[in-house]
């Protein structure tokens, strides 16, 4: 990818105050309805990404120094991977594409609802609406194309969510003392970067994210066949069987 033009979102959990202005701003811009959430006794609501929730703050409690409590707030959303598993596996031409800013966006009219993108995402991001069409964070490409900030970054009071030139964001974070950013090089660079003081695991993120081998196999070998159009349905069901991993991502389980 041409790094010069690529934009990204930089998330700094140390600066996040967990106000969830980002969640509301996302819903307001994307006109997503509020969902009924059941459990008022949990801070994290909605509990996970949903067709109506493109981003959310994850609340992680842990013991801190000297008997003190430590509370981490981590914004979760689509990572807009440079090497995007979802795009690799997608069989519907144009359903998933990359903007010139680097965001992975979707076209619901072209989505066939096979859900392979969900299975091939190392971060368990894509969700499907009532018509089984893919939905997720699209980095507010309809705003950024016009020179506006994504809704979440615009509303964030502390700069915990910043949007900008990817290279510049990395340089700024390094200046602020972060040696290596999460997503700096993983998967050919993520479009959602994280400034972590400690291991990604501390913040509930998987170490060394990778696209499942089966997806890579599909991309290299089987996808070209299906595009030819012969036995596409057979190929699809085969691929679904191969590609959907038997276990879900461990990061999702952590919040239960």
């Amino acid at each position: 990818m041409a790094e010069t033009r690529r934009k990204a979102i930089l998330i700094s959990p140390e600066s996040c105050i967990g106000c969830r202005g980002c969640q509301t701003a996302c819903k307001a811009w994307n006109q997503l309805p509020g969902q009924k959430t059941g459990d008022p006794a949990n801070f994290q609501n909605p509990p996970d990404l949903a067709p109506t929730a493109f981003n959310l703050i994850r609340y992680i409690e842990m013991p801190g120094d000297a008997g003190q409590l430590r509370w981490l707030f981590v914004s979760r959303r689509c990572m807009h991977c440079g090497d995007a598993g979802c795009m690799k596996i997608c069989t519907a031409p144009g359903a998933l594409s990359r903007t010139k800013e680097g965001a992975v966006v979707y076209d619901q009219d072209k989505c066939i609802g096979c859900k392979l993108c969900s299975a091939s995402c190392p971060f368990d991001v894509p969700r499907f609406d009532g018509r089984d069409k893919v939905v997720k964070c699209h980095q507010c490409h309809d705003r950024t194309a016009e020179g506006f900030l994504p809704a979440c970054a615009k509303t964030c009071p502390t700069g915990a969510i910043r949007f900008g030139d990817r290279g510049e964001l990395i340089a700024t974070a390094k200046k602020a003392g972060y040696e290596k950013l999460y997503g700096e090089t993983d998967l050919e660079g993520l479009g959602t970067l994280y400034a972590f003081r400690e291991t990604p695991k501390t913040y509930g993120m998987i170490e060394n994210p990778a696209v499942p081998e089966s997806v890579v196999f599909w991309h290299r070998v089987l996808k070209p066949l299906s595009v030819i159009g012969t036995g596409a349905a057979v190929a699809l069901s085969l691929i679904h069987y191969i590609a959907v991993p038997p276990k879900r991502d461990e990061e999702v389980k952590r919040d239960d």
Partner: protein, 799 residues
């Protein structure tokens, strides 16, 4: 705020106490995090580990209602170890002033206590005065036993770290660490909100902040001050314009029954403020207001000076059958008032209730509350649909006194109208109804100037607030232009100058010009008074007018130009009068003394021009000149300092015989603290009707520690019954590590917390927390003690 939002970034330490600013003033964090990035230390003192505590470097878990014990221990440490800013204290406070020899504090009471009235006669708290000039006598040094500083030191001696810790539950070493951090890092600022004020010692809590900051020299400079974080929808603006019963616009005292003439009023308020009263009367009564008729002062209704007209008394008067009609706008007391059972009963005693709001609120629908038989209520309720903030224009004043114009985005929906349109229509109708009356009492409707144009009505009101030079017809340029002879008008003297030279300065949006780099942005909107960003900024300079901190200078005396100059409007009476003039040495010019008051002595500054009147009087809290610790009205423990005077001796509670029971620790062993959350605002009448907000926090709950949950046999999410002497609610329990068990006076105290934002209307409905809170009030402000009361809890049956 003495300072302003952007200025928070200039602090090296931020003490956040009684505020959960990350959740309830999230935008403050923009500047707080900038300070943190620059190495500032954040201290958070709160009964609960909140989203604010998450970003704090030091967190102290405190028992609700014990802030004075905690702060006094810090102050005592500073006094006892000479850690104060001696130059600042000597120059800019009353430290050297001599107090009367009969001033005493003994057994929890200051001298002059009148038990029958629950009041103080505060004469003995005053200064020794020069018999000729009536000015206070001053000591040579801080060690004079009669000077304010010595008496202060004596008073604070009782507050050791151990005493502070035993009462507050904050470990001694944490108090010491916080004290040392405040001393070592200057400039330092303090942020607070309702967590400090909603107590029966609310005013004294803030006085503690004042004393602490004066001792540290943290006032008038960038990154210092005492900063009240006020409610977003114009709480600052509405208090500026007489939201409270005891003030007129610009904090002029509301006239009492025993002040029939303007001169009588001036005897209580001083000649300095009398000038602004004349300007207010000219703004309201126009040509009808002349010197010969006291500028129409007599036409103002007078209140009974002995009575309390606070929100509590509104409902209690209704209950007593002495209030017939209530008009509620911008408020939802059926959710936000404490002891809600009493409020509902009171509303049912009214003949007529008018509610103007965006949604059918719990107040408007009080007769629909579950369990109520509407047939038993005879109150006629009139609901007026109100326009939202997006559907009207006008100014909003933020906590930093910044007055900003907001524009109409969309026209009002349906039949809704803006508040101004509603009031305008009602006033004109009432005036028409009195048009033929010959009775003198009704003439006021004809005399008052009320002809706002249909178009730009809001700007016409702001113009009236700014005022006019009646000789030239030009808008008033600033406070200094206002005259006491009726030749000028101003509807709110502190806003004089917002319409300078006919330009509405609240519309300015220059966000580039900040030559100081301190975040002053002098041409972005306009701050009262006189576009001043940092109040008391004269205190940032020494006696010669040189900044104490040259690097962060805000103002200074420019000897060459012979004027006060700088990056801010200098807080001096006359910018051309330098340090060699008396007015050049009054950094706290709104007090009679002209300096800050470590001990709040009653003092009236003689007016050199008018023999029998004084210029200005210093405000004295009703409940003492120095903050003393008293337990909340409902407390889990005795007062270890003075067991016989456990509670603030000026608090009268219960005020009425029925409906205000007080619980004891035997029946109600847990301390309840209440507040708001980021996701819902205040009574929730707006936010509980937004599904996005309800998704994040779907209903009310009670936050409890794991230990208490274990004791009650309750697990996370299970429903519990929470009840007090006044009522009960059933809500889910949120079991967290964020709530802790405190060690208070050697015993275990469990604190629980609930948000107060719910009621029985709207898209998200839940029991109102205020059914169980206490409606005891601070004797100065009558604010409710919703931060500390006693409750009991049990697992809810069959749920």
């Amino acid at each position: 705020m003495t300072n302003h939002w952007l200025d928070l970034k200039n602090a090296k330490v931020l003490l956040i106490e009684g505020s959960n600013c990350a959740e309830n003033h999230s935008m403050s964090m923009k500047w707080i995090m900038k300070a943190k990035e620059n190495g500032a230390v954040i201290i958070h003192v709160d009964p609960r580990f909140t989203r604010t505590s998450k970003v704090a470097d030091i967190y102290a878990c405190i028992r609700p209602g014990t802030d004075i014990a905690f702060l006094n221990a810090i102050i005592n440490h500073i006094l006892g170890n000479r850690l104060y800013d001696e130059a600042f204290v000597k120059l800019h406070t009353n430290a050297l002033y001599l107090l009367r020899k009969d001033f005493r504090f003994d057994g929890g009471l200051f001298s002059g206590y009148v038990e029958a009235d629950l009041k103080y006669d505060n004469a003995s708290w005053g200064y020794q005065l020069d018999p000729r000039t009536r000015k206070p006598l001053k000591a040579q040094g801080l060690d004079d036993p009669d000077c304010v500083f010595s008496r202060l030191k004596d008073f604070y001696k009782r507050y050791t770290f151990k005493v502070g810790s035993d009462i507050s539950g904050v470990p001694q070493e944490t108090i010491r660490k916080i004290a040392d951090t405040l001393v070592k890092n200057r400039p330092g600022t303090i942020l607070y909100a309702l967590g400090m004020t909603q107590h029966t010692t609310g005013v004294q809590n803030i006085r503690s902040f004042g004393i602490l900051q004066m001792l540290l020299g943290n006032m008038g400079k960038p990154g210092t001050g005492i900063n009240a974080l006020r409610g977003e929808p114009n709480v600052q603006g509405s208090t500026d314009f007489a939201l409270l019963f005891n003030v007129l616009p610009g904090y002029l005292a509301y006239p009492n029954h025993n002040e029939p003439t303007l001169k009588d009023w001036s005897k209580g308020s001083g000649t300095f403020r009398a000038k602004f009263m004349v300007n207010l009367l000219k703004a309201w009564f126009g040509d009808a207001a002349i010197a010969g008729n006291d500028f129409g002062y007599a036409w103002l209704p007078k209140k009974n000076g002995k009575k309390n007209y606070s929100i509590f008394r509104i409902f209690e008067s209704a209950l007593e059958g002495r209030m017939k009609m209530l008009y509620v706008m911008g408020q939802n007391p059926m959710v936000t008032n404490p002891n809600l059972g009493l409020v509902q009963e009171a509303l049912g005693k009214l003949d007529t209730l008018v509610v103007a709001d965006l949604f059918m609120t719990e107040t408007a629908a009080f007769w629909e509350k579950p369990g109520t038989d509407p047939k038993s209520i005879n109150t006629e309720v009139i609901f007026l649909p109100a326009a939202s903030f997006l559907e009207k224009e006008g100014t909003i004043t933020n906590s930093g006194r910044l007055v900003q114009w907001r524009y109409t985005m969309i026209p009002p929906t349906g039949e809704s109208k803006s508040d101004l349109d509603m009031i305008d229509l009602i006033f004109r109708r009432v005036r028409d109804l009195y048009a033929d009356s010959k009775a003198e009492k009704d003439q006021v409707f004809k005399r008052v100037v009320w002809n706002y144009p249909k178009r730009n009505a809001y700007e016409a009101v702001l113009m009236e607030i700014n005022g006019t030079n009646l000789r030239t017809g030009e808008p008033i340029k600033g406070i200094a232009e206002l005259q006491a002879d009726g030749s000028t008008s101003s509807g709110c003297w502190i806003y004089a100058g917002v319409f300078k030279e006919g330009k509405n300065l609240s519309k300015r949006r220059n966000n580039k010009l900040d030559p100081s780099g301190l975040g002053m942005y002098q041409e972005f909107a306009w701050s009262w008074p006189g576009n001043m960003k940092i109040l008391y900024n004269r205190a940032s300079c020494d006696a010669q007018g040189r900044p104490f901190d040259k690097k962060n200078a805000v103002i200074w005396w420019d000897e060459a130009e012979k004027k006060w100059a700088g990056h801010d409007t200098p807080d001096v009476l006359n910018p051309a009068e330098g340090p060699d003039k008396p007015s050049g040495q009054r950094p706290f010019r709104m007090t009679g003394e002209g300096v800050a008051r470590l001990i709040a002595a009653p003092y009236k500054d003689p007016d050199p021009n008018i023999a029998d009147l004084f210029r200005d009087a210093s405000s004295v809290p009703a409940d003492g000149p120095i903050p003393e610790f008293y337990e909340p009205v409902e407390s889990p423990t005795g007062n270890i300092l003075h067991p016989k005077v456990a509670v603030n001796p000026c608090v009268k509670y219960p005020r009425i015989k029925s409906g205000q029971p007080v619980g004891t620790v035997k029946d109600y062993p847990y301390v309840l603290c209440t507040s708001s959350i980021a996701e819902h605002w205040c009574s929730g009448s707006m936010t509980r009707n937004i599904s996005w907000q309800n998704e994040m926090v779907p209903e009310s709950y009670v936050e409890i520690s794991g230990q208490l949950a274990g004791k009650l046999g309750v697990s996370n999410g299970q429903r519990v019954r929470v009840w007090s002497a006044r009522g009960e609610v059933v809500v889910p329990a949120m079991v967290t590590k964020r709530m802790r068990t405190l060690d208070v006076n050697g015993t275990e105290v469990f604190v629980v917390w609930m948000p107060y934002n719910w009621g029985f209307k709207g898209l998200s409905q839940a029991a109102s927390t205020n059914l169980i809170t206490i409606d005891a009030g601070d004797p100065n402000t009558w604010i409710q003690e919703t931060k500390a009361c006693l409750v009991n809890m049990a697992k809810a049956e069959g749920r």
